[in-house]
Amino acid sequence: MINPEQYPILIVIVPFLSAFFLSITGCFKRSLCRPIALLALFGAAAAAVGSLHRVITTGIIHYRLGGWPPPFGIEYVIDHLNGLVLVVITLVALLAAIFSGKSVERELPGKEPLFYALFLLLVVGLLGMTITGDAFNLYVLLEISSLTAYALIAIGQDRAIHASFNYLIIGTIGASFYLLGVGHLYIMTGSLNMADLASILPQLYGSKAILTAFLLILIGVWTKMAFFPLHTWLPNSYTYAPTATSCLVAPLMTKVAVYIMIRMMFSVFTPAYVFHHLAMAPVVIWMAIAAIVGGSLLALSQRDFKKMLTYLIVAEVGYMVGGIWLANRLGITGAILHIVNDAFMTLCLFLAAGTIIHRTGGHHFDNLKGLFHQMPLTMTAFTIGALSMIGVPPTAGFFSKWYLILGSIQAGRYEFVAALLFSSLVNAVLFFRLLEISYFEKPPHQENTAHGPVSMVAEAPLTMLVPLLVSAITLIVLGIYSGELVTKIIQFAVPAGI
């Protein structure tokens, strides 16, 4: 058996080494790529679950890479917050990888080694960012995940290259902001280790340079999470990305960026500095409201369901940022819970969208016609995802919204309550419009296209259906057990003194 002490490094190293192994093996036998990726992700998921279990039972894990003591070496730290996020990342990536088989075969024939190697590297980047206790190491991994994401998006058809290029430019600017911020911190403190920074920084809180550093990091992370109005790169790149890519990046990239924001705000800086010293919370909450309302309205104007979903991601980012800046336990609890819930909600909806695209060949609203009859299971899963987005109990989305609303009432931010309710109502309109089309309208007549007769639409193949249904059921399970999740894990992830 593997020593549980080594779980933290395994989470990252297993998919990392598998990526190289896979790209070499892929040269000889393409059909081996996906099984290797699945195996690697399964290993990472097991290690992540094991680590989270250790955190719950024995407390925070500190792992020194190569035995070098901090602040000189790189340190991995797993606490309740990132332990949870690691589990979410590995499980979502695993489901997305199981799903990807047929869709990669169809959309990216012959590119399996490339796709799966990048896929694993992207996951490594996300896991590394989450697990690391080092601010600069985080930047490196941020770039790894971003560069692989650019490539995974650009690999798609038509407008994917333009969308990816746009993402690359804005994403690089965002990463540079983050790097500049970390640079400032290094100049002022001489350290890059987060715990070390946290112990040095309080003496420097009066400094303008530290303020600049914080704001630069914040803007950098906001760019990466597509926080309105820095969201413009997201909708096109996620819409035109290959199906398998969007199922991985849509649920995870923004959520990990939100995690980094929390980490920077509470583990490198302190809640007291961020909320009391800076006094910018009201502004950020108004920005979050703008994100929610703006994202919802832009989603409302789409006639393409995949693009509609991408705008909803923008709105959901507003939920999480706003929840954290409410600066009370309930709000932060809601935001962290929403990281988990939204990852699975987005996964469920993108998997459903991917299945529909796979079967009907497009992502326009018209492609949905008659699908309740032809793909009942897919549409049931889609409906559950939709209900979670709207916030109907017992799906997961209801519970994070509950904490967020309760938190905003406690903080006296009724404008945020209004925004959350508005978003629920708009989501109801958005999704029931889709459900109406697929329930009431007759499917189009058979058409012969390059891919053969398209309207032979049948229920999805099993490799797509299983992860989709698992993600849908997860939403209900997460909802019912959200009480457990909060009392066992999330309440310890909320920083002390709030």
């Binding site: 209900l387 709207i390 916030g391 109907v392 109990p393 017992p394 519970f399 509950w402 904490y403 609303i405 309760l406 009432i409 406690q410 309550v417 309710l421 629920s424 109502l425 109801a428 029931f432 109406e436 329930y439 009431f440 909802g479 019912i480 057990y481 959200s482 009480g483 909060v486 009392t487």
Partner: protein, 493 residues
């Protein structure tokens, strides 16, 4: 005097129809077996509900806590007299409706019957869930489940009209539950730290003044299934549904869930004593009274039989709300009894409307002159149902109306007495012509041959059953009456 017992029966009673969905779906190729499952589930449910009557009448309260989903908030059931009364009505009438639905759906060769029976079963689970909910969160959970499960039933025909009606239905029902009830519920939790229904209410001492008025309005209007004006627009639109749906859901389950929820919130969340001391019930009384009269007036103008019944339902639901809002023991007793009495009366009327449609294809009252000679059983049942809704002896409706009238006097609201009596006259004015023209129109105006030709027996038997129930409840109202009296005792202490 109440003692609390943990029992799994409430959970089973809720789940049995939900579990029936699986065998219903599996036996979709064999309609007789499929409907057999629905009957089996219905009988089991009725048995389980009935098994609780004895213990509850002897003063016990049965509870079951399923899972704690948030600090202090659980999915939990608590069976008291009021919930049991409602559950008993719903599970009796589900059986009747299932029989009727077989006759109706097969008689008209409707499509997607498996879907129909599946969602019907889900809707029943949700209804019982609302009845047995121990706290506002559980109630909300099942309330939303009911909204969603009834959507495919309302829009069963899947045509353009169904689509528009379905849109209206969801806009009203989901819009208000998310936009009004949800924030009201969260504010309640914020103020009190709990959502458990308690006989004396939980809000007393936590809120007063304009915020209290706002909360009351958010709840009363937010439970739009009760169709209190101006939240009634969805109900006539939902009449596009097949008649069994209209019968059970829009005369019994859905609308009564709305009225029941308001009743529950007023007694279990606000508390009758607290509302009285704050003089906050007058507003609800006025809303309910306006709805009673306006809906009856609109019903007079409707030619579509189901639409006339729909507006009649809107008016009758506000009787229940009015009974609750009077806050006097007799008024509340009348309101609770009306949940049962109106259910049996109105479902008979809907069954009749459906039977006429199955036998003759007619939907409008103007085309029904002389139909009594062709369908005498149906039309006599119609008369009994109508008498019950009007509140005439010897039907059950008389009893509930009697207590409502006494309640207005007890609460010193003579104007409301006038409203109730005026509404009875209006009810008579919109029902009696239908019956009169059916039997006594001049032969030359009759659109039907004198030949006896009823709807299929599956349609007729349920409506005979429910009309006999309406008669029987006049002579023997005890089960419902005792439950209602026990419930009122609990509210008033």
């Amino acid at each position: 005097m109440t003692d609390t017992v943990t029992s799994i029966i409430p959970l089973l009673a809720v789940l049995v129809s939900l579990a029936a969905v699986v065998p219903i779906l599996l036996s979709r190729k064999r309609p007789n077996l499929r409907e057999g499952w629905t009957f089996a589930a219905g009988l089991t449910k009725l048995g389980l509900v009935y098994a609780m009557v004895g213990p509850v009448l002897s003063g016990k309260v049965l509870t079951y806590r399923l899972v704690e989903v948030m600090p202090g908030i659980s999915v939990a059931f608590r069976v008291d007299a009021m919930g049991l009364l409602f559950a008993l009505v719903a599970s009796i009438l589900w059986l009747a409706t299932t029989a009727y639905a077989i006759g109706y759906m097969r008689g008209l060769n409707e499509h997607s019957q498996t879907r129909f029976f599946s969602f019907f079963a889900v809707a029943l689970s949700a209804t019982i869930g609302v009845a047995f909910a121990a706290n506002l969160f559980t109630l909300y959970l099942f309330y939303e489940m009911l909204s969603l499960a009834t959507y495919p039933l309302v829009t069963h025909h899947q045509d353009q009209e169904a689509r528009m009606s379905g849109r209206k239905y969801l806009t009203y029902i989901l819009g208000t539950s998310i936009g009004l009830v949800l924030p009201a519920m969260i504010i309640t939790y914020h103020l009190t730290g709990t959502l458990e229904f308690s006989p004396g209410g939980i809000l007393a001492g936590h809120v007063s003044g304009p915020l209290l008025t706002m909360l009351i309005l958010m709840f009363v209007l937010g439970f739009a299934k009760a169709a209190i004006m101006p939240m009634h627009g969805w109900l006539p639109a939902a009449m596009v549904a097949p008649t069994p749906v209209s019968a059970l859901l829009h005369a019994v389950a859905v609308v009564k869930v709305g009225a029941f929820s308001i009743f529950r919130v007023m007694t279990g969340i606000f508390g009758t004593g607290f509302l009285l001391s704050q003089h906050q019930n007058q507003l609800i009384i006025i809303l309910a009274a306006v709805t009673v009269i306006t809906a009856s007036l609109i019903a007079l103008t409707q030619d579509g039989l189901k639409r006339r019944l729909a507006f009649s339902t809107i008016g009758q639901l506000s009787y229940i709300i009015l009974g609750a809002a009077l806050l006097s023991p007799k008024g509340m007793l009348g309101g609770l009894l009306h949940i049962a009495m109106h259910a049996f009366g109105k479902i008979t009327l809907f069954f009749c409307a459906g039977a006429i449609f199955v036998a003759t294809g007619k939907k409008n009252i103007s085309e029904m002159a002389g139909i009594g000679r062709r369908m005498p059983i149906t039309m006599i049942a119609f008369l009994i149902g109508a008498m019950s809704v009007i509140g005439l002896p010897p039907t059950g409706g008389f009893i509930s109306k009697w207590y409502l009238v006494l309640g207005t006097l007890e609460a010193d609201q003579p104007l409301m007495l006038a409203v109730l009596l005026g509404s009875s006259l209006l009810n008579a004015a919109y029902f009696m012509p239908v019956f009169y023209r059916a039997f006594f129109c001049p032969p030359e105006e009759s659109g039907f041959a004198d030949r006896f030709n009823e709807a299929p027996v599956w349609c007729v038997a349920p409506l005979v059953f429910s009309s006999l129930m309406s008669l029987g409840l006049f002579f023997y109202p005890q089960p419902f009456f005792n439950l209602a009296r026990l419930a009122v005792q609990a509210f008033t202490g």
